[in-house]
Every structure is written in C-alpha cells, then in structure tokens.
C-alpha cells in the first residue's frame, strides 16, 4: 500500500474522532458556565444540580478531547513533514498561538474549576469556568484560521530560494473571511451539539421520572432545546454565507457538493438522487429548482460552474506546474457529505424542539418513540459535524493547500508504509477501546442522574480539617 493513502486514512480517522469531542467541549463549557452563573445569581438548587450533572458529562468528554488533540499536533510532523516544512512559516504560527494562548487557559482554569470548589471564592470559581470556555472557543478560532488558510491561502509569498511559502501578513491569515465564517459556523455547530445533548438527556431523565431530577431536567430541557434551535438557525445563516465564499474561492467544491457536472444557469439543488453513486447518471432526483443558484450566488438565476468546465479550466491553469491527473474531488463523498451534514443537523434541532414541546408545562410524555428520540438526538449533531468536515476536507482534494500544494506532495518522504500503517492500527485500536470506555462512563453518569441533595460547596470554607470535596 502507498504511504500516502495510509497517512490520509490516519488523518481522517484521528481527526474525525477528535472532532467528536471538540464541539461537545466547546458548547458544553459555555452551557455549564451559564448554568453555574444562574445558580450564583439565583441560589436555586436546580441550577447547582445542573452544573454538577452536566459538568460531569462535560469532563468525561473533555478528557478524550485533550488526549486525542495531542495526536493532532504531532502528526503534521510525523506523517506530513513535507507539508509542515513547506508551509510551516505560515501554518505553524496559529498553532503555536493556540497552544500558548488557549491550551494553557483551558487546562489551567479547568483544573481550578474541577478542584477549586472548596478552595476559591464563589465568584472567582465561576470565573474559572468562563475562562476555560473562552479558551475553548479561541482555540477553535486558531485552528480554523490555520485550516482556512489551507482552503484559501492568503497573506504569503513563495520564496524560491528556500522553496517554501512565507507569511507576509499574519492579520490576513488570521482574519480572512474564510476563517471568520468557518469559526462562526463551527461554534454554531458546537452549540447545536451541546444543546441537543442537553435536551436529549434532560428529556430522558423526565420520562424516566428520575427522582429528585425533575425540576432540573425541565429547566435544562428548555435551555438545551432553545440553544439547539437558535444554533440551527445560526448554522443556516453562517452555512449560507460560507457557501457563497466557497463559490468564489473553491468553485469546484460547490459543484462537487451538488454533483453538478455541467454549468447551469439557473441551477437546481437536489435533495437526494437515486442512480450512480457519483450522481453522473441520475435515475431519479428530487430537485428544488433554482435553489443551488440562490445558495451559491444569492440570486435565483445565478450561474453555477459545473465540474466538467472547472476541470478543464484547472487543467489549463495548474496543469503546467502540477500535472495532476484530475482536479475533481471524490463526488459521492462530497455530494452525500453535504446532504448528511445538513440533514442530521436539522434533525437534531427538530428532535430537541419536539422533546421540549412534548414535555411542555409539566407534561410527562410516555411514548416509546420519544424515549428513542431522546437517545438518538445527541448523536445527530455528531454525525452532522463529521459529515461536514469530511465534505470540506475531501472537497478540497487533490490539494492539501488549495492551488499551492497537492496532497500527494505533503507526505513525509522518509516514512515508510509499514511505519504509517503501524501508527494507523495502533491509534484505531486505542481509539476504539477508549470509545467503549468513554460511552460506558457517560451512560453511567446519565443513569445516575444529578445528585438528589446538593449542599452549597462554598458553605464550610475555612475549616482546615474538612474532607476533600473533589479527589482523583
């Protein structure tokens, strides 16, 4: 096997896996911070219960996000050393800032939050979870700015002497519209993920009539559902903006998202297609007329470039320098990735809203279907997030940096197939085993429910001989 393929599989597996935990961490950090704020302001026990309960789920998840994140930072150098050298002058900077500015913030203040319940004044303790939450959101910004540069490289020149790209404007790299919109879209996804998780778990607690949990669960169901619905709306708006930027910067990706082979004006959007997997010979296709034109250009009769045209255009533009066989990404993956992202995301918000409606004004629904819905609602955004990233990364192919470096040239020249395969197998096995452990713990925590009796953890401060409230 070719080391390139194995390295790509490894990057895909480790990154999609890492990104299962990331949005939960970001969204849940803010929601838990909000709940704790509500407790500090109102003194209402249900908010303390909610802080402790969802805080526990948050931390079980956070541990996985941390350890799988270390792999991310190392594997650029391990498997993609040519890429790292060629663009490190630009790409390395946001990563270093991410570590220095945000990893320290997250890890230190989360440590203070976890163990500080009986050590810090109430409001200082509240501040620690907010700082950790802000850290997670800023961390996302830095890595998305780095990724946006791969989608749309700006603020650099090519240095022929060193044979590499060099940064000319850090502000352009950090604040180009591709980065800003990707961050807004991703943060919205994080809130949808956390909102759907909170709503699903809360509905389950209500329907199971978990003792002592009802007041909390009704409050958190509302919070989770509202957050999910608002986040879904934000995803629609930011996604729409993102698509318009994409049409200008990476028209091939938009065409691949629709499997639009021939340039069309106006262009329809197909909800789904039956036929060949790559949509080249549809047998049946449910289409919304003019929708793709609107999505791509903002007008109902806008012109959308087709794959065949773009392929020819790229052959002429890039062929002399790169001589790649094809400039078209894998169409089945982009076509279905795009649809599954939108579909699963909308289902998540719908489920959260239905759950809230079913349990409105003190009702306790009994339907078996609602229980199932409560259980699968938190999974929907995870599928949507994965599909979205697979779409956007596969849609950039054959480039690792669009127009600048083909993916095939990015791999480590000195690393053989056996080494990459070893690490792929090792990571996959460990990640699989850890998934079982992590899900097991999450289910235990959910079944246990929130603590029935909550004592104000700040009440007995100052007693030197008191028992430790938090230990490892």
């Amino acid at each position: 096997m070719d080391p390139l393929d194995i390295a790509r599989w490894q990057f895909g597996i480790t990154t999609v896996y890492h990104f299962l935990f990331v949005p939960i961490t970001i969204g849940m950090a803010f929601l838990v911070a909000g709940l704790q704020t509500a407790w500090v302001r109102t003194g209402n026990d249900k908010y303390l219960q909610a802080t402790k309960f969802f805080g526990k789920l948050f931390l079980i998840n956070f541990a996985m996000g941390v350890v799988t994140g270390i792999v991310q930072e190392f594997q650029f150098g391990m498997n993609w050393s040519n890429y790292s050298r060629y663009v490190g002058d630009i790409f390395g900077a946001p990563l270093a800032v991410e570590a220095l500015l945000t990893f320290f913030l997250e890890s230190t203040f989360l440590g203070l939050w976890i163990f500080g319940w009986d050590r810090l004044p109430k409001k200082v303790h509240l501040l620690t979870i907010w700082l950790a939450a802000v850290g997670t959101a800023m961390s996302a910004y830095m890595i998305l700015a780095a990724n946006a540069w791969m989608q749309h490289p700006v603020g650099y020149v090519f240095d022929p002497e060193k044979n590499r790209a060099q940064m000319t404007s850090f502000t352009e790299v950090l604040f180009q519209n591709t980065a800003v919109i990707a961050w807004l879209h991703t943060i919205s996804a994080a809130f949808l993920t956390a909102g759907a998780l909170m709503a699903g778990v809360s509905l389950w607690l209500i329907m199971r009539r978990k003792s002592g949990a009802e007041a909390m669960a009704r409050a958190t169901l509302k919070v989770g559902a509202v957050v999910a619905v608002v986040a879904a709306a934000a995803l629609g708006i930011t996604g729409d903006q993102d698509a318009k930027i994409m049409v200008q910067q990476q028209p091939m990706k938009m065409a691949a998202a629709e499997a639009l082979y021939e340039t069309a004006q106006p262009a329809p959007f197909s909800l789904f297609t039956i036929g060949t997997l790559d949509g080249s010979e549809p047998i049946f296709s449910l289409e919304v007329p003019n929708a793709l034109s609107f999505l791509a250009t903002g007008t109902f009769d806008g012109r959308v470039e087709g794959i065949d045209n773009l392929e020819q255009q790229y052959q002429e533009q890039y062929g002399p320098q790169f001589d790649l066989e094809s400039y078209t990404p894998n169409i089945p993956v982009t076509y279905w990735g795009f649809r599954l992202m939108i579909g699963f995301g909308m289902l998540a918000a719908l489920f959260a809203a239905v759950g809230w409606w079913a349990a409105r004004r003190g009702r306790t629904p009994e339907s078996k279907w609602l229980v199932r819905m409560a259980i699968i609602a938190p999974l929907m955004p995870l599928l949507a997030n994965s599909a979205g990233w697979i779409f956007t990364e596969m849609g950039r192919q054959p480039w690792i940096v669009f127009g600048l470096m083909p993916t095939a040239e990015g791999v480590s020249p000195g690393v053989g197939a056996a080494e990459v395969l070893t690490s792929l197998v090792v990571f996959t096995l460990i990640y699989g085993a850890l998934a079982v452990v992590e899900v097991g713990l999450l289910l235990r925590a959910i079944r246990q429910g929130p603590p029935e009796v909550v004592v104000d953890p700040f009440a007995d401060h100052g007693d030197p001989d008191r028992e430790l409230t938090v230990t490892y």
């Binding site: 941390v66 930072e73 650029f76 050590r119 020249p413 690393v415």
Partner: protein, 365 residues
C-alpha cells in the same frame, strides 16, 4: 532585530519551553511511576493522584507549546525530527493518551480490576515519556544521520534502532531517574505523614542513583559532543544543585529540595541546548553537514510576530499557573479522602458492595 538574533532568541525560547515541561511534568511523570510504590493503600493512591489532579494537564501543555513553537519557528526541524523519530514519538503519544484518560477515569468506578488497569496505564504512560525524551535528546546532541534533500528540506535517513545507542540510552535513564526523584520530592512536599516521610526517604535514595547516571550522561555529552567550554557551567550548576537537593531532602527541607531539583533540570536542558547550538540536528558524522538553526528557521517576519506573541503571553501564563499552585498549596491528607473505594459513577448495587468492603477493611485493620 536581525534574522540571526531572532533565530537565537527562538532557539532559547524553545529551550525555555522544554525547561518548563521537564520541571513541571517531570514531577508528575515521577509521581505516576511511583504510584504503586508510594501508594500502599487505596487511600494513599487517591491522595497521590489528587496532588496531580489540578495541575497535570496544564503541565502537559508545556510540551504542546514546545511542539507548536518548533513548528512555527523552526518548521524544518519540526518536520525532520517528528518524521524521523517516528516510532519513539508514536510510543510517547500512546503513553500520553493512556495516562491522560487514566487520571480522569480511574476513580469513577469502584471495580478493583478497573482501577488496577488504569493504575498500570498511569505507570506505563508516565514511564515511557520519562525515558524516551531523554533518549530523544541524547540522539539530538549526539547527532543523527540527516541529509539535505536539495529542495529545502532535510531527511532523517537512520532507522529506529540507530536511536538506541548506549549514550542516548543513558540519556533516557537520566531523565527517568531525575523525574523519579523530582516526583518523590513533590509527594513529600504535597502530602502528610506517613506518606511524606516515605517519599522523602525514597527521594534521597533515588537522588543518589540519579546523581551518578546524570553525571555520567552530562560529562559524556560535554566531552564527546559539546565542543564548547562554556557548557561546563550549566553542567556544573546542574551537578551542584542536585547535590544540594539531596542534602535538603536529607534534612527534611523538601521545598528547597524541589527548587534545587528544578534548577538542575533547567541547567541540564540549558547545557544540552548549548551543546546543540548552532545545530538543531547535527550530523552524527561531524564531517558531514547537519541542520543548523539557520537551515531550519522561519522567516524574519514570522519570527518577529511570534516574538511579540511570546513576550505578551508568556508572563500571563506563568502568572496564572503560579497562582494555581498557590491555590492548591495545601498538603493533601489521605485522611481527608472521604471514601477511597467508592467510585463516583458507581451503580447503587456497586455502591452497596463497596460500602461493605470498606467496612470489612476498617474492621480488620
């Protein structure tokens, strides 16, 4: 500032990040390896883990920042070293994954088998990086087989077994024994008797072993690979400070011992970076070209930006990390751990069983 000055600054800053990593995570590797040795009862084990609880993750970020800073400031070094030291890094990553989740998950369940497994992962997960970082640094100082690829990059052409030479293995033993001692001193500093006394006595013995290993390694480095007289200074500081640490330990002054050990780690890292300069990856055959900081570095523009970022942020990071240690300055008394056998995510049935076991243990002691 000129590009040459910036390159030297960043070479120094990366040394500083490694110092931060060795001083801070060094002790939590030590505590992790010593978990079954010092923690004779479940209550003591929980106390040991609780001393690390609030800080281990923040300590590990020093490594991530060192990695990120190397990527940004010396991309060619990052690319060649990370792809060249492939298997050792894979082992380190696996270790860091396992130990990270183990800290968080171990005490969630009371099941003894569950806890034994995570204990083993904490020990192995701490042992592997404590050993391998020393091996990696040994190889850097000794030199590796690298060559320029003619397209701006450098390739490591050696194999995995080339990394396992006697000198570098002693380097591994050096970091391992230094971290073990550092960890024992940290336990003495952060716990109460009898754990404290036991850790202190162990620290004296480990400190003597480490002294021998480290002196052999550093003097060998100096004589064989330095080529500079001034690097004797950090080598001597490291040695003297280590002896002062052992003496402080012997007299029961673990706070001073911790400071002296930290000075040793800082001086040792400084010595190794001093010996490396002006290379980042010297060739094992000194007659052949090796990768210098000039070959490896980013552009003047990027280094200037990153210098500002580092100047602004590093003091803030140091301030709040120091504050964390201040907040958790109190010793962890095993007596204050409410119910060491209970898991926070036990089912009601498991909780009842654990309660019975705890009562039995209390009755028999």
């Amino acid at each position: 500032m000129s590009l040459e000055t910036l390159q030297i600054i960043w070479f120094g800053l990366i040394a500083v990040l490694w110092i931060g990593y060795f001083v801070l995570e060094g002790f939590d590797y030590g505590v992790g390896i010593l978990l079954p040795v010092l923690g004779r009862t479940e209550r003591e084990k929980r106390a040991l883990l609780t001393t690390l609880g609030p800080v281990w993750d923040g300590n590990e970020v020093w490594l991530l920042t060192a990695g990120g800073a190397t990527f940004a400031a010396f991309p060619t070094w990052y690319a060649t070293m990370f792809s060249g030291f492939y298997l050792p890094l894979l082992l380190i990553l696996v270790a860091l994954i396992l130990r990270g989740v183990s800290f968080e998950y171990r005490s969630k369940r009371s099941d003894p088998q569950w806890r034994r497994r995570f204990d083993a992962m904490i020990v192995i997960g701490s042992f592997v990086p404590a050993l391998l970082w020393g091996v990696a640094f040994g190889n850097l100082v000794r030199g590796v087989t690298v060559q320029a690829d003619g397209q701006g990059g450098w390739i490591y052409t050696g194999g995995f077994l080339d990394l396992l030479n006697p000198y570098s293995l002693i380097g591994g033993l050096t970091t391992l024994t230094l971290f073990l001692t550092h960890g024992a001193v940290f336990v003495a500093l952060k716990t109460t008797n009898p754990l404290r006394d036991r850790a202190q006595q162990l620290a004296v013995r480990l400190g003597l072993v480490a002294a021998v290993v480290a002196v052999v390694f550093l003097v060998w480095s100096q004589l064989a690979y330095s080529g500079k007289t001034w690097t004797w200074i950090p080598v001597l500081i490291a040695a003297v400070s280590w002896l002062a640490g052992i003496a402080a330990n012997f007299r029961g002054r673990e706070g001073w011992a911790f400071i002296f050990n930290s000075v040793t780690l800082a001086a040792a890292v400084s010595a190794l970076f001093g010996m490396l300069y002006p290379y980042v990856m010297p060739n094992v055959d000194r007659a052949l070209p090796g990768m210098t900081i000039a070959d490896a570095s980013s552009s003047e523009y990027t280094l200037t930006i990153m210098t500002w970022v580092a100047l602004l942020l590093t003091p803030v990071v140091l301030a709040y990390q120091a504050w964390t240690y201040w907040v958790f300055r109190q010793r962890v008394d095993p007596k204050h751990i409410v119910d060491p056998y209970a898991g926070s995510l036990d089912t009601p049935a498991e909780a009842a069983e654990t309660g019975a076991r705890a009562r039995e243990a209390a009755g028999s002691s």
